[in-house]
């Protein structure tokens, strides 16, 4: 099989340049590519355009990129959990495009699947619809939304093999599978990297064709954003 394995996070990020557009998987702090984010925050590159559902928290997740002033433009859906991000947004230091979450997911999937644009009802009659083509189908109005164009997809899976096949766990799946193959280069980091042939082909969520580079993450904090338990 075709080998996708790389040994280090730096090898995984080879070719990244300032000003590039990046898709980053994860919902909140769940299922985020921790190792790739850390490496980007510590790199000399900057002025990224980031496409991700959320903006992380102040000191973790995507927040590390905002803290290190690496982001010029953020395309997200719900960004209310990061004060430094909010400060940069209100001070107009970063450009922010807020997108309905289902539309954001589908704009990733459309890029992955070779669909240039699609119609969705989300945002009709709101400021999200400004400047977009509206078309009526069966008596209901829809907006034309375009697929994203992106340079790197940075995703995180639970398990993967050296051919790039991925398996996700729980709600850490979220946007990760949709971003694979949606950029020029897709990098996947996994908690457990196994030899090709170790995973049951029936259980693969994302086939390796959508992944260009895969590596074993060095350490995972897997921080919980809102630890909530039953009253005992």
């Amino acid at each position: 099989m075709i080998r996708k394995k790389v040994d280090t996070v730096h090898e995984a990020l080879e070719g990244i340049q300032s000003g590039m557009t990046l898709m980053l998987g994860g919902f909140g702090l769940c299922g985020i590519p921790e190792n790739l984010i850390r490496a980007l925050a510590e790199s000399s590159h900057k002025d990224f355009c980031c496409i991700s559902a959320n903006a992380g928290v102040d000191d973790f997740g995507l927040g590390l990129l905002f803290g290190a002033q690496k982001v010029k433009k953020m395309i997200g859906s719900y960004v209310g959990e990061n004060e430094e991000f909010e400060r940069q947004m209100l001070a107009k230091e970063i450009e922010v495009i807020l997108t309905p979450m289902g539309t954001l997911a589908e704009k990733c999937r459309a890029a992955q699947m070779g669909i240039p644009a699609f119609f969705t009802p989300a945002g009709y009659g709101t400021e999200v619809a400004e400047g977009k083509e509206i078309r009526e189908f069966n008596g209901k109005n829809y907006l034309l939304e375009m697929a994203y164009a992106s340079d790197f997809s940075l995703v995180k899976a639970w398990k993967g093999d050296e051919s790039g096949n991925l398996i996700f766990r729980g709600t850490a799946r979220n946007f990760n599978p949709l971003m694979c193959g949606a950029s020029t280069i897709t990098v996947a980091e996994v908690e457990e990297l196994v030899p090709t042939g170790s995973l049951d082909p029936n259980q693969i969520h994302t086939p390796g064709i959508f992944v260009d580079r895969i590596f074993q993450g060095a350490r995972y904090e897997k921080r919980i954003e809102r630890r909530t338990v039953q009253n005992t």
Partner: protein
């Protein structure tokens, strides 16, 4: 004295029917899960990728890979499934969800809803709210009748940026249960001890007041 937030949730729980797939928004809607009537079988969907969301975990059993749309730790019900965000919003856009319960800052008498942005003040993003309101046929809004400044949240037109247009069917507030009709907000039920004058005083939009208005039973 109107309803408490928990009583609003309890009243909305009376709308649940066996077999319903339900999406609950953040805030008062989340509380609805605590009041599912005995014998009613439903499944909660959380748009970050789970169908069949169960209760919060016991202390020590939190799993960072298992959260709800509010980023809280959760557990799966028996028979739950996980999926990516595209499939999740496909469930919503494809009208497979039977009931959506959302909070709101304002609702207009046409059923427009504003719940995501206060310009220059609160700009956190819409999350899944615009997808939900654009595609759900059965939307109940759970909210207080007035905002913290005492202004009516039931209005002729929304003053805040819209989340969706002509989509809300029913509103449950601390004062009343109201349906959105072509003629205006139709009062269906009123909270115990709340008279019609009070509902009128705190409703800026057009009200339809039937002769008989039963009390909310919670």
């Amino acid at each position: 004295m109107g309803l408490t937030k928990n009583q609003i949730a309890k009243r909305i729980a009376q709308e649940l029917q066996s077999g319903y797939y339900v999406n609950l928004g953040i805030g008062i809607p989340t509380l609805v899960a605590n009041y599912v009537p005995e014998g009613i079988e439903i499944a909660f969907q959380s748009e970050n990728g789970i169908l069949g969301m169960g209760p919060f975990p016991m202390p020590g059993e939190e799993d960072p890979d298992l959260i709800n749309a509010g980023k809280q730790t959760i557990t799966p019900q028996l028979g739950a499934s996980y999926f990516d965000s595209s499939i999740s919003f496909g469930m919503i856009r494809g009208k497979h969800i039977d009931l959506t319960v959302l909070g709101a800052m304002e609702v207009s008498e046409q059923g427009d809803i504003a719940n995501w942005k206060i310009p220059e003040k609160l700009v956190k993003g819409m999350g899944g709210a615009m997808d939900l309101v654009a595609s759900s046929d059965n939307i109940i809004v759970a909210m207080m009748h007035t905002n913290p400044k005492g202004e009516s949240k039931l209005r002729t037109e929304c003053t805040l940026p819209l989340t969706g247009v002509r989509c809300v069917k029913r509103i449950v507030t601390d004062l009343a249960v109201l349906d959105v009709t072509k003629e205006g907000f139709l009062i269906k039920e009123r909270a115990k001890g709340v008279d019609i004058e009070e509902i009128k005083r705190f409703t800026q939009g057009k009200l339809i007041i039937p002769e008989e208005i039963p009390e909310i039973q919670v």
